[in-house]
C-alpha cells in the first residue's frame, strides 16, 4: 500500500515517523467514528434545547434574561486559544519530538481549558444566585444546563486525559503509543471547539437576540 493511501484525517506523521503513521490508520479512523457517535449525542441535545428554549420556558426566565454574552465570548476565546496551543504541542511532537516543548504547550492548553471550565462554572453560579435560574426552574433551563454541562464535562474529561498524557510523555517518552494517544486527544479537543462554536451561536447569540 502506498503512503498516500494510508493518509488519515488529523496530523500526518508521514515524513518523520512512518511507523506510527501506519499504526495510526486504524486507531484514528476508529476514534473519528467514536467522535461521530458523540456528535449524534450533541445533536440530540441541541434538538432538545431547540424545542425547550421556546416551548419549555414555563414560569421561568427567558434565554435573553439570563445569558451573559461577554462571558460567553471570553469563554469562546479561551477555548479557541487552547485549541491553538494544542496545535503547537502537536507540531512539537511531529517535528522535534521535544518532550519539554510538548509538555509546555500541553500545560498552556490545560490552563486555558481549565480557565474555560472555571468561567463556565462561574456563569452557572451567577445564573443560579443572581437570576434565580437553576436547572430545576424550567424545561428550558434543564435543557440549557444539560447541553452546556455535557460540553463542560467533555472538556473536563479532556483535561484529565491531558494530565494523564503529560505523565505518559514524561514517564514513557515519545513512543508510538503515546503519540497516537496525543493525536486522538487532539481530535477530541478540536471537536469540543466545534461543538462550542455551535453552542455559542445557537444558545448564546440566538438566545440574546430573540
Amino acid at each position: 500500500m502506498s503512503l498516500s493511501e494510508r493518509l488519515h484525517p488529523g496530523i500526518n506523521l508521514a515524513g518523520t515517523d512512518p511507523e506510527s503513521h501506519e499504526a495510526a490508520e486504524e486507531v484514528l479512523f476508529g476514534f473519528w467514528i467514536f467522535l461521530m457517535s458523540d456528535l449524534v449525542l450533541f445533536a440530540v441535545l441541541f434538538a432538545t434545547y431547540a424545542a425547550m428554549s421556546v416551548q419549555g420556558i414555563a414560569e421561568g426566565p427567558r434565554p435573553a434574561e439570563v445569558f451573559d454574552l461577554t462571558a460567553a465570548f471570553l469563554e469562546t476565546l479561551l477555548l479557541l486559544l487552547s485549541s491553538c496551543a494544542f496545535g503547537f504541542a502537536m507540531l512539537e511532537m511531529k517535528y522535534r519530538e521535544n518532550r519539554r516543548g510538548v509538555l509546555g504547550w500541553l500545560l498552556v492548553t490545560g490552563l486555558l481549558g481549565a480557565g474555560f471550565v472555571g468561567m463556565e462554572l462561574h456563569d452557572y453560579y451567577v445564573m443560579i444566585t443572581a437570576h434565580g435560574a437553576p436547572p430545576q426552574a424550567s424545561g428550558f433551563l434543564s435543557a440549557y444546563y444539560l447541553l452546556t454541562g455535557t460540553h463542560a464535562l467533555h472538556v473536563s474529561s479532556g483535561l484529565v486525559w491531558m494530565a494523564v498524557m503529560a505523565v505518559q510523555v514524561a514517564a514513557l517518552g515519545m513512543n508510538p503509543a503515546v503519540k497516537l494517544r496525543l493525536m486522538r486527544l487532539a481530535l477530541f479537543w478540536h471537536m469540543l471547539d466545534v461543538v462550542w462554536i455551535g453552542i455559542f451561536t445557537f444558545v448564546y447569540l440566538y438566545g440574546v437576540v430573540s
Partner: protein
C-alpha cells in the same frame, strides 16, 4: 451511625422475601421463588465451579480473554441465560391472562407490570442484542479473513458492560423491584412523581450500560470491516452476513446515542428534579417518545439485519447454490438501514401530530416493505433449482419466510395511521412485533447456532433434537401469537392483567398452549446442547467444513486456532472458499509462515464490568459512596491499563506451521462426504463440493478430484 450513608435506600423490606413474610400471597410466593432461583442459581454456579476446579480456567481462558471468538461465545451464553428467564416470564404472563377472567388470576397488577417490563427489556437488550453481537463477533472476522477485530480489548469491555447490565436486571429479582413502565419506560409514568421507587432506576442504568456497550461494539465492528479485510476482499466480495454486520454497526453508532440521551434526561428528572419530561414547568414528555424511538426504530433493524445475513448464508449453503441477486441483497440492506431512521414517528401516530406528518411517516414505513420484499424473493429464488437439504437451520428459514411475510403485512396495515388509531394499543400490536422479532431475529439466531456451532466447537449439534425443537417452536409461535391479532381486533388492550370479556377466553387459551409449546421447544434445545456435548466424539467435525460452506470461515479448522488464519488468505471472488474448492486451490500449503502477534489476556475488561455493575447498583439505591468509588475505580483501571506496554505476545512461525500442516494433512487424508451424508457420523468436516453452478461436469470433476487424492 447513619445507616442510610452506608446502605442508601436499601431496607430489609427491600428484599423480595420480606414481601412473602409480611404479605403472603401466590403473587408474592412467585416473586420470592424467582428471587430464590436467582440466589440458588448463583450459589449452585459457585459450588459447581469450585467442585470442578473451573475457577482458574474460567478466569484464565474466558473472562480475561480478548479473543473475538471467545468474546462472541460469552455473549451468546449471556443471551441464552437471559432468554431462559424472559421466556418463563412470558409463559407466566400468558397463564395470568388466561386465569384472570373476571378478576381472577394469581398475580398482583404490580407484579404483572414488572413482568412485562422485564420481559421486554431483557428480550431486547439482554437476549437479542447480545445474541446478534455475539454472532457478529464470532463470524464476521472469520468471514473477512482477519485475525481479530480492530480493538480486541474494547470488544471485551463492551461484553462486560452488557454483562453488568444483565446482572443488574437479575439483582432486581432479589433486591427491590423492577420498573412497571414497560420496556420503553414512557414518562411521566416513569417520572419520580408516579414511580418514586427504585424500579425505573434499575431500568435506566441496566439499559444505559447495555447501550454504551453496543455503541462501542458498533464502532469496533465498522472499523474492523473497513480496515481489516484480507487482500482482495473488496466490499462487493464480502459475504452477506458481513454486509449486514456493517450496516448494523453503522446503525449502532448512530442509534444508541439518542437512547443514552433519553435515559440521562430521565435520570436527571428523577434524581435532580430537572424538567425534561415532567407534566409541569415546561417539561415535554413527547420529546421522550421522539428520542426513545429515534433509537427504538433503528434498533428493530439492528436486530433484524444480522438475522437477514444469517438467512442469506443458510439458504445458499443448504441449497448448494450461489445466493441469488447478491447485489440487490446488498443494496436492499443499505436501503433498509437508511430508511430505518425515517420512520420512528409511526410509534406514536396517535399522540397528537398533524395528519400530514402521520401520512408522511406512514408512507415511509410502508416503503421499507420494498427492499425487504426484494430480499424475500432473492431467498426464494436461491432455492429454485437448488440441492435443498431440510436441516434444522433450513427448516427455520422456510418457516421464517412464511411467518415473516404475514408479520410484514400486518406491519403495512399498522403503517396506515387510520388503522393504527384503531389497534395501536391492543394485542394486535403485540402480535405484530412478536411476529417480526421471533421468526426474524430469534429463529434467525437459532438457525445461526445450528449452522455455526460446529465451527465454534468442532462438533455438530444433534440433528434429531434440533428438529424436535423446531417442531415445537414453529407451531408454538403460531399458536401463541396469531390469536393475539384476533384478540386485538376484538379490543383486548395490551399490558392488561385481568379481563371481563368472555369472548377472549378461547383465544387466550390457544395462546397459552402456544406458550407451552415454546417452552417445550426451549427444553428440546437445551437437551440438544446436552446430548450433543455428550456425543461429541461421534458428532465431531474438526476438519472445519461440514456443510460445504462458501465463505472463508469454513476453510480453517474447527474450532479455529487463536490466530484464525495461519496465513492471511488472498481472495479473488465472492464465495471465496467455495471457489477455491471448485478450482482445486483449497487446502494448499502456503509458501511460508510468519510469527503472529496476538493480544495478551487482561483483567481490564472484567474489572471494568464489575465496577460498572457496582456503580449502577449504587446509583439505583442512592448509595453514593459506592457510586463514586466504583466510578473512580472504572477510570483508574482504564488509566492504569494505558500505562501497560507489554500487551501482545508472539506465536512463533514454527507453532503456526505445525498446527496448520497437521490440519491440512488431516483434511487431505479424509475421504470427504457428500451432501447425502452430511447429517451422518461420516461427516468429519471435509465436504465434497457440490457445484450446481458448473453443471454436472463440475460435480463429476469434484468427485474425481476426491478419488485422485
Amino acid at each position: 451511625m447513619n445507616w442510610e450513608l452506608v446502605f442508601g435506600q436499601i431496607k430489609w423490606t427491600s428484599f423480595v422475601f420480606a414481601g412473602m413474610i409480611e404479605n403472603p400471597s401466590l403473587s408474592e410466593a412467585i416473586a420470592s421463588g424467582a428471587g430464590s432461583l436467582a440466589v440458588l442459581g448463583a450459589i449452585a454456579t459457585v459450588i459447581l465451579l469450585t467442585v470442578k476446579g473451573w475457577w482458574v480456567p474460567l478466569w484464565r481462558d474466558w473472562l480475561t480473554s480478548v479473543d473475538h471468538k471467545r468474546v462472541g461465545i460469552m455473549y451468546i451464553v449471556v443471551a441464552l441465560i437471559m432468554f431462559a428467564r424472559a421466556v418463563i416470564e412470558a409463559a407466566l404472563m400468558r397463564a395470568q391472562q388466561l386465569s384472570a377472567y373476571d378478576g381472577g388470576g394469581f398475580l398482583s397488577a404490580d407484579h404483572f407490570g414488572q413482568l412485562f417490563s422485564t420481559h421486554g427489556t431483557i428480550m431486547i437488550f439482554f437476549v437479542a442484542m447480545p445474541f446478534i453481537t455475539g454472532l457478529m463477533n464470532y463470524v464476521m472476522p472469520l468471514q473477512i479473513g482477519a485475525r481479530d477485530v480492530s480493538f480486541p480489548l474494547l470488544n471485551a469491555i463492551s461484553l462486560m458492560l452488557t454483562v453488568a447490565g444483565a446482572m443488574l436486571v437479575m439483582v432486581s429479582l432479589v433486591v427491590g423491584r423492577f420498573s412497571t413502565g414497560g420496556w420503553s419506560a414512557y414518562p411521566p409514568f416513569t417520572g419520580i412523581e408516579f414511580s418514586p421507587d427504585e424500579g425505573v432506576d434499575y431500568w435506566i442504568w441496566a439499559v444505559s450500560l447495555g447501550s454504551i456497550g453496543s455503541t462501542l461494539t458498533g464502532l469496533n465492528f465498522a472499523v474492523t470491516i473497513y480496515k481489516k479485510r484480507c487482500p482482495g476482499m473488496s466490499l462487493f466480495r464480502m459475504p452477506l452476513f458481513t454486509w449486514t454486520t456493517l450496516c448494523t454497526s453503522i446503525l449502532m453508532i448512530f442509534a444508541m446515542a439518542p437512547l443514552t440521551a433519553a435515559t440521562i434526561m430521565l435520570a436527571l428528572d428523577r434524581y435532580a428534579g430537572f424538567h425534561f419530561f415532567t407534566n409541569g414547568d415546561g417539561g415535554n414528555m413527547m420529546n421522550y417518545a421522539n428520542l426513545f424511538w429515534l433509537f427504538g426504530h433503528p434498533e428493530v433493524y439492528i436486530l433484524i439485519l444480522p438475522a437477514f445475513g444469517v438467512w442469506s448464508e443458510v439458504v445458499a449453503t443448504y441449497s448448494s447454490k450461489r445466493i441469488y441477486g447478491y447485489t440487490s441483497l446488498v443494496y436492499a440492506t443499505m436501503c433498509i438501514a437508511v430508511l430505518s431512521f425515517a420512520v420512528w414517528l409511526h410509534h406514536f401516530f396517535t399522540m397528537g401530530q398533524s395528519a400530514n406528518v402521520n401520512a408522511i411517516f406512514g408512507i415511509a414505513t410502508m416503503i421499507i416493505g420494498v427492499p425487504t420484499g426484494v430480499k424475500v424473493y432473492d431467498w426464494l429464488l436461491t432455492m429454485v433449482g437448488g440441492r435443498i437439504r431440510l436441516s434444522t437451520a433450513m427448516l427455520f428459514h422456510i418457516n421464517f419466510l412464511l411467518t415473516f411475510i404475514l408479520g410484514g403485512m400486518t406491519g403495512v396495515l399498522l403503517a396506515n395511521p387510520g388503522v393504527d388509531f384503531q389497534v395501536h394499543n391492543t394485542l394486535f400490536l403485540v402480535a405484530h412485533f412478536h411476529n417480526m422479532i421471533i421468526p426474524g431475529v430469534l429463529f434467525g439466531m437459532f438457525a445461526a447456532v445450528q449452522f455455526w456451532f460446529p465451527k465454534a466447537f468442532g462438533f455438530r449439534l444433534h440433528e434429531g433434537l434440533g428438529r424436535a425443537s423446531f417442531w415445537c417452536f414453529a407451531p408454538g409461535f403460531l399458536l401463541a401469537f396469531f390469536p393475539l391479532y384476533w384478540l386485538g381486533m376484538m379490543g383486548a388492550t395490551r399490558r392488561t392483567f385481568e379481563w371481563s370479556n368472555p369472548d377472549y377466553l378461547p383465544w387466550l387459551a390457544l395462546a397459552m398452549l402456544g406458550a407451552a409449546l415454546i417452552l417445550a421447544g426451549f427444553a428440546f434445545m437445551t437437551a440438544q446442547f446436552i446430548v450433543s456435548v455428550r456425543r461429541r466424539e461421534e458428532l465431531a467435525a474438526p476438519l472445519g467444513d461440514p456443510w460445504d460452506g462458501r465463505a472463508l470461515e469454513w476453510s480453517i479448522p474447527s474450532p479455529p486456532p487463536a490466530w484464525n488464519f495461519a496465513v492471511l488468505p488472498q481472495v479473488t471472488a465472492r464465495d471465496a472458499f467455495y471457489e477455491a474448492k471448485k478450482d482445486g486451490t483449497a487446502y494448499r500449503s502456503p509458501a511460508g509462515y510468519e510469527d503472529i502477534e496476538v493480544p495478551r489476556n487482561t483483567a481490564t475488561a472484567p474489572l471494568i464490568g464489575l465496577f460498572a455493575c457496582a456503580w449502577a447498583f449504587g446509583l439505583v439505591w442512592h448509595i453514593w459512596w459506592l457510586a463514586i468509588l466504583s466510578f473512580v475505580l472504572i477510570w483508574a483501571v482504564v488509566i492504569a491499563r494505558s500505562f501497560a506496554t507489554d500487551t501482545e505476545e508472539t506465536v512463533p512461525a514454527a507453532t503456526v506451521r505445525a498446527a496448520n500442516e497437521a490440519f491440512l494433512a488431516a483434511v487431505r487424508a479424509a475421504p470427504g462426504v457428500t451432501r447425502d451424508q452430511e447429517m451422518t457420523a461420516a461427516n468429519r468436516g471435509r465436504a465434497i463440493p457440490e457445484s450446481l453452478e458448473g453443471g454436472a461436469g463440475a460435480l463429476a470433476a469434484g468427485a474425481a478430484m476426491e478419488v485422485t487424492r
